[in-house]
Symmetry: D2
Subunit: 242 residues, 4 copies
């Protein structure tokens, strides 16, 4: 894939074989261009051509429904210690945004096992994995994580599903000693049930957090947080097996 | 290294060759124990033995001064797309907490170049890198990033220093097209100067954010955010080269 | 005035002499109705008739530009101790929203002195004071508070203006011993200047705060903060003369 | 009462007849001093003498258990429109901090009816009312608000109690048309029950909010929110009768 950006910052994720791209700022010829080039449309507007990164795949790949935001992906990675070589179980896949992030981090020596019960979502997700070039690091399964997790000795389990408490005992089974679980859920009652299920399953170091991200405006007249803000996405519950 | 945890959750990071460890809950014999084992002190208290992960190294390695928190490490990773194989420049090293996290993520195919002007800090950092087993992925330099950055075509530059604006033009030079810069600073005036320096240096997609993390208590009587909260650590400014 | 509310919660502030009111939910006859009555439009939709309170005047009176929100009016009252009988100086008037709130609280034994340099705003404000029935408790002045404050021994001074630091020495002169100043400003640089001007003017007990209000959704499926949130309105700086 | 303040900002609430006061900064003679005076202790340290305001009574009067903070008192006043002349029912009294604030605002033409089931608390509260000079504006009752509210046509009802939902139907009976209810509770489950009880009782314009107050530090080196922050006190649920 390649990433085309117009002068207003609007980004287009294009297949490698696209030779000419039509935008409201004119037609851009891509046949001889390489990443890092500055191009001009036939109307004279400037465009940038980049090699897309995981951030761009996340932002631009097709979605179905809401996806877990980078604002929560960050803490999931930082608090569970996912890194190069990690083996991670994730459910549900959705359209694969989180799995792509995780695959980018675990690298070719790691693996992401992702569970999804909806075949239509899994199909979109698999296409997205291929586009993002991480399909060899992800094993995408049409399976219900509430029925069990096949993997053993995994480093981290991440749940983004409506009823995570039903799968938490399986997560405990799947994890190695010292491994972490992370659960994402928008509702306080659900995250409480997840927390209590972790307690039941003997998880240690349990905590529930919520991340608020404020954007700051740097204007000539002065500096201030933005008037509009994303008020809430979800809670994160963490636990560790030992 | 190995990680010993007592029943209250207190953690001890120990060298591999420690055979016996004295705590207020009694003496624990470690000679025949392996990660995942449950041990008992001579007073009968339970202990867990684990292989430490990046999270444990971060929590337990020696520090000098304040370090950038996981709450900010998460967004730095998620918003810049650092992953397996990434090449990252970082300054200042401090005692190496962020570098260890990044090294854990970039893996053996990536590299972290970390700049520090204080020799005493760098010395502690180098020892910490060795303890965490990531010394081969980190090039630690006694050098002033405000005087220049030697690397080229790096994926990400991260600054945690009092005067980041002085190094931002060098960051632009060091980055590949499409690469990201992240700047951390506790003060609004300084982050503003960093933002304006990014603008001057022609960075795109600039934004300044602040991350608030609220901890939620799950108690029998009910659920609520904790009374005490970490009110502020620092701001994060991001930009991208294209 | 009277307050008409439709079944969706939409509110209309009407003059006492309005006998018939046309809405998208039909025509409502008001001639024989009294506060507390439930009415029906000619289309059969339910309406409520109420005597408006300060909250309704605040919400429904004509505005020009942005006004200070209840979320900040609350702390201004609570932290300065404005009450029945208080004498308060306020600037700038704007269209009078804050003055109406304060007048409602200081009552017939107190007084609000409000300064405004724009004649057009003051004209709207005066009409609003009359509509809200508090014109006898407010002295509205076409005057520049940066040039001086005529009143002496007042209990509280409140500034909502772009350059409050220019008026802070006058506020000190106007206040009685033990009296409070409150300054509202959206920008961090301006609130800092106000704080430093308070310090220069010998104000004690100085503090700067910011109020964040999160709205919580109670839904069948569960409870959670709302997705959208008002991210920032302004900072409040407080000081006390002694 | 009179208020003595030392040079470090420490405040002492003293009876009118105290003629000499001993502090760690020396003995202060108060016999000839009047509010506004600057005094010196026998050790030469400066003291200020002020007439206490509602803010001082709130800060310095004896407490039993936690009291509702000014950060929540502010929004209760601003969102319910309590003002001079208002008639307010409040429960539970506790040691009277909120009742004193409300009495200060409703003035001699208004009234605060406060319900408390613990005789010991009510006794402290009554003494506090007398000290703050607002006893004629408050009717303090040893009675259980869950059994009923005697008053009718009141403007506002405020509940700070563990099980507010049991009293919400009585609040509806007590309120005039257009009147407001405000409920304070630390737990999300309880505030949800209060909200649902308001719905059941036919309250309109219902909303639940949480107030976060951030304190900003103005230091030479720069400006920033404070490191430590009060993370949570309680939620506020509001409703209106019509």
């Amino acid at each position: 894939m390649k990433l085309l950006i117009d002068k207003r910052g609007k980004k287009y994720l294009l297949r490698e074989d696209v030779e000419e791209f039509h935008t409201s700022l004119g037609v851009v010829k891509l046949s001889d261009a390489k990443p890092g080039d500055k191009l001009r449309s036939h109307l004279g507007h400037e465009f940038y051509l980049l090699e897309p990164t995981v951030v761009d795949y996340y932002d631009k790949l097709p979605r179905a429904g809401s996806i877990i935001l980078k604002k929560e992906i960050g803490p999931i990675i930082a608090y569970t210690g996912i890194g190069s070589g990690s083996r991670v179980v994730e459910a549900g896949t959705g359209t694969g945004a989180l799995a792509i992030y995780l695959a980018h981090i675990v690298g070719s020596e790691g693996k992401v096992y992702t569970y999804e019960i909806r075949e239509d979502h899994l199909e979109i997700a698999r296409k997205n994995f291929a586009k993002a070039g991480v399909e060899d690091r992800i094993e995408a399964k049409l399976a219900d994580v509430r029925q069990g997790i096949e993997e053993r000795e995994v480093d981290v389990v991440v749940f983004d599903m409506p009823d995570p408490w039903l799968a938490i005992p399986h997560a405990y089974e799947a994890l190695r000693h010292g491994g972490f679980i992370a659960v994402y859920n928008p509702y306080i009652e659900q995250i409480r049930k997840a927390y209590l299920a972790m307690q039941e399953a003997n998880f240690k170091d349990k905590r529930v957090i919520e991340i608020l991200e404020r954007e700051i405006e740097v204007k000539k007249v002065g500096t201030r947080p933005k008037t509009r803000m994303l008020g809430h996405t979800g809670y994160l519950a963490f636990g560790r097996k030992y």
